[in-house]
């Protein structure tokens, strides 16, 4: 059944990798990396290329680069998305990749998947006006529009499973220990 469906996901390779990692726990330990360089004002350029996994150093095919800044209404020059928008991008793309993978595994042919995200934030937090207001998002809403050969119930189950196995969903919804050092 899965063979008749093509969402562009090599599910056989993924399942084989899952089996292989079961017997090689050290290989499953990954370290993801990013570097960031300040440009001017609130403008910074971040890059990713190397990471660690499968017991070795790994590299993306090319270095990817991301500009971040703030819009002009923040008295910035708007050279790129805001970091909080990139968080939405991370969540959206992780859930979407998950939908495709789960659909492939469940034999569901996708025709289109679109997600819209909204994160609500009260600036009283980051501006230090009200200590009861948190800095970050107080609510994130993701709305999927999915066209697929499946019932609405099956599509909802896809989306639910995608959240259950999403790294970024977990990062956003659960606490993480963070260490910041200065060299």
């Amino acid at each position: 059944m899965a063979q008749s469906v093509n969402n562009g996901v090599n599910i056989d390779a993924l399942l084989a990798a899952r089996e292989a990692l079961k017997n090689a726990p050290a290989a499953a330990e990954f370290t993801w990396r990013a570097s960031c360089k300040w440009q001017s004002g609130t403008h910074a350029t971040s890059t990713v290329q190397g990471f660690h996994g499968l017991g070795d150093e790994q590299r993306h095919k090319t270095q990817f680069s991301f500009e971040t800044d703030h819009p002009e209404i923040f008295a910035s020059e708007d050279h790129g998305a805001t970091p909080v928008e990139l968080v939405l991008v991370g969540l959206a793309s992780c859930l979407t990749a998950g939908v495709a993978t789960v659909a492939q595994n469940r034999g569901i042919q996708l025709r289109s998947v679109e997600a819209k995200l909204e994160g609500k934030m009260n600036l009283y937090g980051i501006l230090g006006i009200d200590s009861d207001v948190r800095n970050g998002y107080d609510d994130i809403k993701v709305t999927f529009r999915i066209d697929a050969d499946a019932s609405k119930q099956d599509i909802e189950a896809l989306v639910a499973q995608s959240q259950k196995r999403s790294a970024v969903y977990d990062i956003v919804t659960n606490p993480t220990n963070v260490t910041v050092e200065v060299l």
């Binding site: 230090g128 200590s131 009861d132 659960n174 606490p175 993480t176 220990n177 963070v178 910041v180």
Partner: protein
């Protein structure tokens, strides 16, 4: 005066010096919150010699000791008697409204009219408990410092203490000592050693002038007013009670309680930064003391400058706790307090329900004053030793207001 605690009594004493007719309305007895709203073992965190009020000093045998609640109540009763404070006890204010040229105070025992009113009803009338309390599983008992008496009265089993203020660290220590497992959730906190260079840390606060710093010279006043109380306890041993001490005793330290979801308490992963901030601020304060000491005539009683151990961060602090697992049976909310102004029918509160005032002078309502709020006029405003200077300033403004026919003071 509304309230006959140390703040109201201090104002009363200064008004009496100026022969100003006044009365204190007190819902209970003198020092009521100290009688009814404190736990059994509590001692003041300020040493006895700092329990000084206008014309009234501690005269006991142990100036460096710390008063228990019965001792403090006796001390304040002594002050009320010595200053012949006109206190109407067991009288509860039900509303305060403006009248032409003054105020009308309704109480459960009749009505009063006055030209001026001082709100001295305290900064800590109601425990502040976060909304997430609603999400607690049913079997977890929720306890505020007002409900707490002693560890024996808690349900058997582990206890999650939320908040690392003076209240939080004191209760965590006492509950842990009773043999219960204690987890302490730590957000922003103020770390202080009990003694520094051989002197009480509050001796330094007073003598270096840090405590006398005025509200209009503090850059981030709102922040200063919202700071949690310092991690101090008053014990005969003058012991330090910071997070290193609690950890060494076996209290489990976790990050700020961020949420309760699906029966789990979730703790912030930002604990390391909370430790770093508290250590940096403490170091800055101790450096200020050292700098002050260098500028003083040599003091042979002073030990050399000290470097305190940094707060040791647990390697991998717990991020969540299953509240249905039975590991914890109760939560103690040491998450602060707020004043209760339900009776205040004059529009002088901001959108957060806090009184809008300028160093205790309520500009929007001439003739209205406040006493005993955090950093009201000085860093020491809420401490007993801070009451006299504030009372003298407030009374000076009040005299101007009365002399001006009620049109506003200085």
């Amino acid at each position: 005066m509304i309230g006959a605690g140390h703040a109201g009594l201090a104002i009363s004493s200064v008004l009496t010096e100026h022969s100003i007719d006044h009365v204190l309305i007190e819902r209970g007895e003198v020092a009521n919150s100290w009688r009814r709203e404190r736990w059994d073992s509590l001692r003041l965190l300020t040493p006895n010699w700092q329990s000084c009020l206008p014309g009234y000093r501690y005269a006991g045998p142990d100036p460096d000791g710390f008063m228990s609640m019965p001792e403090l109540i006796r001390h304040l009763e002594g002050f009320a008697a010595a200053s012949a404070a006109p206190v109407r006890t067991h009288t509860t204010v039900t509303s305060l409204t403006r009248l032409d040229g003054g105020y009308r105070v309704l109480t459960d025992r009749g009505e009063l009219r006055c030209r001026s009113v001082v709100l001295a009803s305290g900064a800590a009338n109601v425990p502040r408990v976060p909304q997430m309390r609603q999400a607690l599983p049913e079997r977890i008992e929720s306890i505020t410092p007002f409900d707490y008496g002693s560890p024996e009265r808690l349900p058997r089993g582990g206890v999650l203490v939320v908040g690392a203020s003076a209240t939080g660290v004191q209760l965590a220590e006492e509950i842990h000592r009773s043999g219960r497992a204690v987890i302490l959730a730590v957000g922003e906190h103020v770390r202080l050693p009990r003694t520094y260079r051989g002197r009480d840390i509050l001796w330094w606060m007073e003598h270096s002038g840090v405590w006398a710093q005025r509200y209009d010279q503090i850059e981030e006043l709102e922040r200063a007013r919202g700071l949690p109380s310092p991690q101090l306890i008053g014990t005969p041993e003058r012991a330090t009670l910071d997070l290193n001490v609690l950890r060494a005793k076996g209290v489990e330290i976790v990050g700020r309680l961020a949420a309760i979801r699906d029966g789990h308490a979730l703790f912030s992963g930002g604990l390391r930064n909370q430790f770093a901030l508290a250590d940096l601020k403490m170091r800055r304060l101790l450096d200020t003391f050292d700098e002050w000491a260098r500028a003083q005539p040599e003091d042979p009683g002073l030990a050399p400058a000290e470097r305190l151990e940094p707060s040791a961060v647990p390697a991998a602090p717990r991020l969540s706790l299953d509240l249905r697992s039975g590991a914890v049976r109760s939560i103690v909310w040491a998450t602060g307090f707020r004043p209760d102004y339900r009776w205040l029918a004059v529009p002088v509160l901001d959108r957060r329900g806090e009184l809008r005032h300028d160093g205790g002078v309520v500009r929007d309502s001439p003739g209205m004053y406040a006493m005993g709020l955090p950093v009201l006029r000085r860093r020491k405003s809420t401490f007993i030793i801070g009451a006299e200077d504030d009372a003298r300033d407030i009374v000076a403004d009040l005299l101007g207001y009365l002399a001006g026919g009620g049109r506003g003071g200085s």
